[in-house]
Amino acid sequence: MTILVQPQNREKELKTILDGYKKFINHTYWLSDIFQKDGIQNSWGARVGKGKNWSCKIFYSKKNDYDIAGLIDHGTTGLTGIIPNNENDIRKALDENNPFRDKERLSAFLSQDWSSKSWTDLGSRGRGKAIFIASSKEKRIYFDSLRVTDNRYVFGSIYLDKNTKEIKEEILSDEQAYNKIKETFGNNIQSLKDYGTRIFIIRPEEELIEAISKGYIDDFIKSTWWEILEKYKASIEIVLNGKSRKIENSQILPVNKMQIKETYHSGLIKLPKNNELKIKNISLCYLGDKDIPEFYKGISIQRGGMAIERYQTEKLLDEEFSEKIFGSIEMESELESEMHKHEGPEHCDFRWVENPPAIILKIIKQEIKKFAQKFKLIEYEDIHVDKKQRETELNTLKELNDFANKIGLKGLGWKNKKRNVENRDDNKPLRLSFSDFELPGTSPRVEVGDLIKGTYVKPINETDKKIQVLVRIFILNESKKELCLQEKVIQLSNATIEKIGWEEIKISEIYTPGKYIVRAKLISLENINIKGEINYEKGDEIYIASRSFYVGIDPKSKGLFEDIKAQKDLSKDKYIWVEESNSGEGFILYYNLLHPIIKKLIDKDQDSLKELWIREGLIYLLQIRFSEDQSLLKESQKPVYFNEKNLKENNLNVIINILLKHRSIFLWGREK
């Protein structure tokens, strides 16, 4: 028999790991909840093929001294890989350079915090074993597995040595394993006959027994695994003292199950800055007067068929009815893999401040808004304002963006290039016409696969003289690299009809996300003098025309604030506020037309209204700068505006005072 001491993180106490889980699951039966989540996750991750023959049973059995809970699966690969003789074998098997690392399921199982799985697999941190050990009063588990790869049988145990406080493991194979299971369990348990794995929890914790016997665990499973139950008809059973019950499909998710009119499906959504990453669907449902069952509250963030986290809807939309909205988001595999990199080690949350999770959150937020507007849960929409008021809005916008620039909040459109006004003059007698240029949508943004039509220019000569010119048209990327070019020498007269360029261009994969410019030049090939008024020398660029488009990204806005918009909202807490814009690249300053203070000024005193917007807007600007500076400081970078002492302040009163002081400085400067 080989006795192995677990090779890594051996001093890490089970308690720390469990505390990590506990903070996510806020109910009495938290241990059972994570038991099912981690147990089924490991099993589903080891399924053969798409999981057609996969099944998983959670059981509890008590007869005299025999008191065992556990988990059995079939249609899985079993604990494959080498059968280690010592810790070094495990290390080697799980070494990053081992190309077959992902097949080393046994070594991964015996290890802690090491894993054989790639990022695309469900669990990949190997913490689940800790849950099994913690679920046993004796802190001991047994396991056996019949492996699909070599038909070999393994049996072993993992336990906490109460004297040395070490996690120890025993592992046997083949004949020795068959003998050992018989010696351990007598006739109560037979060795496995089908491929798969079994875990035995010796003398399980009361909480686990209760959840299995009273059926609470069924709800945990349904709410976590609703997607595979529904889509793959996954077979999950609970076996209590030999009596089996099947876990039925959830009646709450997917949202159509509720058969309520107020349901919504977004369909496929490409992530704004990377078209390879796609959201399969965001489903939402509004329950009205009814209450959402506790385990389904929020938006279920799905990965690999499992509900990783439920993101509270109230955090996404600050409205009273928000908590009545629930639903789910499913992603395509590339995006799932990306999201997995930003998942907490317990598989219970994501690091939402990072990307792409932050982008996903923004998209969910937008979809919830669309949903709420569609079903008139929120009445507000952009209100049309009169010309005078719009002028005030635009003046305010400019001034606020100037302030924003001063404190380094430039939005994404700070590179406002000077346009060559002369060249924009359509009345020039010698010019190029780009008039047929047509983007597929209303915005300059295009996606891979789109067609841009009319990417050609027509040279125009309105003089009586025939002149020799060169027309050159080319497409540039952001690095000013030419992607393609066409040019033609023309004897240009007022009768010339020519098109130089392409009838259409198809946006292929070579157009990586970014801005592109189609530029055309009219170049003189002779010295021209027409009636002393039009003078060009050979080589002169007579006319330059450009059109731009953005692949997979939105065009840059002109400043931090993209717009100022009016809303009508009866909630008393809505006065002047700031929201991130839909493009996600700037902000919108909203004001509530129904607020008594604004109501008093509207149509009457535009100047005071502007003052009000600027004063309030400045507070938001300073607050955005403050939190951005705090982030910079955290990343050991130099803050842009606020000093370090201010940024380390935690007291809200002091922070408000700092912001108000800086606002005062700005307002002072403005008056001067």
Partner: protein, 218 residues
């Protein structure tokens, strides 16, 4: 492409779109590893190099090789790549952190080092020191067409005896750029181009180390 910045021993991955896939990350890691190794191996030989111009010329060569190999020029992240180079240059080569002007890639010090390697060492030397090269790079019209640069080089060779500093030749380079500002020189023959350039009327005042324009000979 993914750009990998290195700040306080931490690697910061950035991409234009904010998202990156595994393939892109692996490729970027390969590029930056190569960049780091190549620059570090250069460090030893450069530590004894006293000729600043030759030092930057060598650095430029290493960068050119990498840019060519991975076709970095074709990528939208080309600009941020040049910013990130600062994070990988050993201290012996460049002590300071990135100056403001280098944020604009065409004025990025290392980009300009690479630009210099378009010309053979003999030509590079004949023009003058690194400061003069930088003045030239600041006038993109001059480096747009090799024939213009050749014309400028010939003139600068003649200026050498006056021992003009880089600031002294600045007005001259500006005059060249300005003369051709609106002209696409690619359609001109060499004769036509040089005819236009020869129209720049100037003379050198050796006493005041000044170049005077629109000089009318008595």
């Amino acid at each position: 492409m993914v750009t990998i910045f290195r700040k306080n021993n931490k690697l910061i991955y950035k991409s234009k779109s904010g998202l990156m896939n595994k393939k892109e990350i692996t490729k970027a890691e390969k590029i930056y590893k190569e960049l780091s190794i190549n620059l570090s191996s250069l460090e030893k030989s450069l530590s004894t190099e006293k000729n600043v111009l030759r030092k930057w010329y060598k650095v430029g060569f290493v960068l050119k090789k990498l840019v060519k190999k991975y076709k970095l020029e074709e990528l939208n992240e080309y600009e941020s790549f040049w910013i990130s180079v600062y994070d990988y240059v050993p201290k012996l080569i460049q002590k300071n952190t990135i100056p403001k002007r280098s944020i604009n890639w065409k004025q990025n010090h290392f980009y300009q080092c690479m630009q210099m390697t378009k010309y053979n060492w003999k030509t590079v030397m004949s023009i003058g020191n690194w400061s003069i090269w930088r003045e030239i790079f600041d006038n993109k019209k001059i480096i747009e067409d090799n024939r213009i640069l050749s014309w400028v080089i010939e003139k600068l060779k003649k200026f050498k005896k006056y021992k003009l500093g880089h600031k002294d030749i600045r007005p001259f380079l500006y005059a060249v750029s300005n003369r051709l500002k609106k002209i696409d020189t690619s359609v001109l023959t060499q004769k036509e181009l040089y005819y236009k350039l020869d129209q720049i009327n100037f003379r050198i005042d050796p006493l005041n180390k000044k170049i005077e324009f629109n000089y009318v000979q008595k």
